[in-house]
């Protein structure tokens, strides 16, 4: 795909004469992003913060950042935040929510954090039905440390620690932790989404909005997976990465609502 580089207009546009149709919400800071071009984290951050802004709950929200690429989530999210040890975000969120039972608490975690080192904390937090939102970004790789195999890495997928492709013999199967989570009675709402198209973004936004509503009603844990990409780790352009994700990740991790409240 070629990109046309536009020449700047000769005269500065008069902003006062223009309608503002889209703006950055106050729940996002002005910090320049450290995420790689094409990475899904930026959009996922934006959607989460947009919902918090639209619901008007910025002052009542406390977030927990993980270890991994999104360790710096607190640089962009303009809400009170705690950074947790690797895998322990849901335990930290439990501590916060128990102390502030009427506030909104979310954890934002990647696949290595949530589905490998933090599996025990994840499962027990949901099993207790802690009234928090767990936002789980699954890009099937450890991005921050340079692209190693993750619990969700697909069979045959090449990473720096599965250079010939992941095999069952040496590394077992890709973990469908979201389906496991949905089996737990403490999980009230479980959904799998993505952020690679405007339509997908709209679905994710709806899911997060519901999750905060359920949290307000103290219904139990809401767990939202975002199947995402890692252009740098996957060694692809952003466009290739999104196409590869649709073709290969979606069959294993199909988007859609997995557990919804009974009417």
């Amino acid at each position: 795909m070629s990109t046309e580089i536009l020449e700047p207009e000769a005269a500065e546009p008069d902003l006062a004469q223009m309608d503002c149709v889209y703006a950055k919400p106050d729940t996002l800071t002005d910090t320049p992003s450290h995420y790689c071009p094409g990475c899904g984290h930026g959009v996922a951050h934006r959607v989460l913060m947009e919902v918090i802004d639209e619901l008007g709950i910025q002052e009542q929200t406390i977030g927990v950042a993980p270890v991994g690429c999104s360790v710096f989530a607190y640089q962009y999210m303009n809400v009170d935040m705690q950074q947790a040890a690797h895998g322990r975000a849901s335990a930290v969120a439990t501590g916060i929510r128990r102390v502030h039972p009427d506030k909104y608490v979310f954890s934002y975690q990647g696949d290595g954090d949530l589905a490998a080192i933090g599996t025990a904390e994840t499962i027990h937090t949901v099993n207790r039905g802690e009234n928090i939102l767990v936002l789980f970004i699954n890009n099937a790789i450890y991005g921050m440390t340079g692209g190693q195999m993750a619990p969700t890495t697909l069979l045959g997928m090449k990473t720096t620690t599965s250079p010939l492709g992941r095999t069952v013999e040496t590394a077992g199967f890709p973990m469908k932790i979201t389906e496991m989570i949905a089996m737990l009675p403490g999980a009230y709402y479980v959904s799998r989404n993505s952020v690679h198209t405007p339509n997908a973004v709209r679905h994710l936004k709806k899911a997060i909005t519901k999750a905060f509503q359920y949290q307000k009603e103290k219904k139990g844990t809401c767990f939202i997976e975002v199947v995402s990409n890692c252009p740098s780790g996957w060694k692809m352009t952003p466009l290739q990465a999104n196409e590869w994700m649709e073709e290969n990740m979606f069959p294993m991790y199909p988007p859609g609502e997995i557990k919804v409240p009974k009417p």
Partner: protein, 370 residues
């Protein structure tokens, strides 16, 4: 309140050390407790689940000690007076979390009712976790403030002190007891304490960001080395202030002492009996009992180097605190060690024997020099 009435005063009870500690935590205004069962401290979790919950405490039995300490991190960061408790193997699992808590400067109390190790070891009392407790324990340069009770009374008293110190310095505080102190019953009197008079405002806590203030971030990540060094220097400066102001110890019959016993916790009480036996034989011996293991009473020991002919450190381990005693006296007097391991408690008679050996050797050394 549980325990047996031993007087008309409702603040005086006959209780196990673990129960007294738990009762004190409720009275100290601890808002949230997170714990996991392990012998010999499970009574703390049990007492708080029952009595603490009834009196308004948030009590959660976590899935592991790893989860417990991270729940403490979350609750402390959210502004609550909070604690956890465990015993040696469980405290090992908490070391990562403690390192994060120390760096993020979150006040909390961690109780270690020390049992014999290494490994799964034994449920009997031990002081084998001294190094882990006072030198940091987890990764990086940090210290806990470590209090060492020697009675059921101090199991209660030190809880109030621990929470006050934690808030004063925004630092995790450990009460390092042992299995015997946790399990034995003694009379305990609870001091009058109104938490509202002691808990300071916590403007740094994550409680939700009002429009008129910047967001609060609790983190131990500072990826720029210059910033990370600055954080380290700040922590080291705090530890220097703690060493300057918070040293606590007890002296027993040291005025005329020619020899000094050094022991903490349960062993200090046995050493006290050994002191009486030795004095009956005409040996002029005193006892120094550190109540704070970090900060360590270094100056107090140094003061004795011109007075005594030798020191005997007694511990329920292979010789850990003795290293700090030797550092303090800088070779000016001989420092011997006597210890038992694996859950064995030394007897007063054994300590007297070790003292006699020290006397023989220190006289011989003196003879060699002169």
């Amino acid at each position: 309140m549980r325990g047996t009435d031993v007087s008309d005063n409702s603040n005086i009870r006959l209780m196990k050390g673990n129960e007294a500690l738990a009762e004190a935590a409720i009275r100290a205004g601890c808002q949230a407790y997170f714990g996991y069962p392990i012998t010999p401290q499970s009574e703390i979790l049990e007492y708080l689940t029952d009595e603490g919950r009834r009196r308004g405490m948030i009590v959660l039995q976590a899935e592991s000690e790893v989860a417990s300490i991270n729940m403490v991190y979350g609750a402390a960061g959210a502004g609550a007076r909070t604690m956890t408790s465990s015993s040696s193997p469980g405290v090992s699992l908490m070391q990562e979390g403690l390192s994060y808590i120390a760096c993020a400067e979150l006040p909390c109390l961690v109780v270690n009712v020390n049992r014999g190790g290494p490994g799964l070891g034994t449920i009997q009392p031990s002081q084998g976790d001294y190094f882990q407790s006072v030198k940091g324990g987890g990764h990086g340069d940090y210290h806990l403030i470590v209090l060492a009770p020697a009675s059921v009374q101090e199991m209660a008293d030190f809880v109030f002190d621990a929470f006050n110190l934690a808030d004063k310095y925004r630092n995790p505080v450990m009460i390092l007891a042992d299995g015997a102190l946790g399990q034995m019953m003694e009379k305990v009197e609870f001091r009058p304490y109104n938490p509202a008079d002691h808990i300071p405002p916590k403007p740094w806590a994550t409680v939700g960001k009002p429009k008129d203030r910047e967001r609060t971030i609790i983190t131990s990540l500072h990826i720029q080395p210059e910033k990370m060094e600055e954080i380290n220097l700040h922590l080291q400066e705090k530890y220097r202030r703690i060493r300057e102001r918070e040293v606590r110890y007890e002296l027993v019959q040291t005025e005329d002492a020619e020899y000094l016993l050094v022991a903490y916790g349960l062993v200090a009480r046995i050493a006290h009996r050994a002191l009486e036996l030795a004095r009956a034989q005409g040996i002029r011996v005193g006892l120094l009992r550190p109540q704070t293991l970090y900060p360590f009473p270094t100056e107090a020991r140094r003061g004795f180097t011109t007075q005594v002919r030798g020191m005997l450190t007694v511990e329920m381990n292979a010789g850990q605190m003795v290293e700090d005693v030797r550092l303090a006296v800088e070779g000016k007097v001989p420092v011997d060690f006597y210890g038992r391991m694996g859950g064995i408690i030394p007897s007063p008679e054994e300590i007297v024997k070790a003292l006699e050996k020290l006397m023989k050797n220190s006289v011989a050394e003196t003879a060699e020099v002169y």
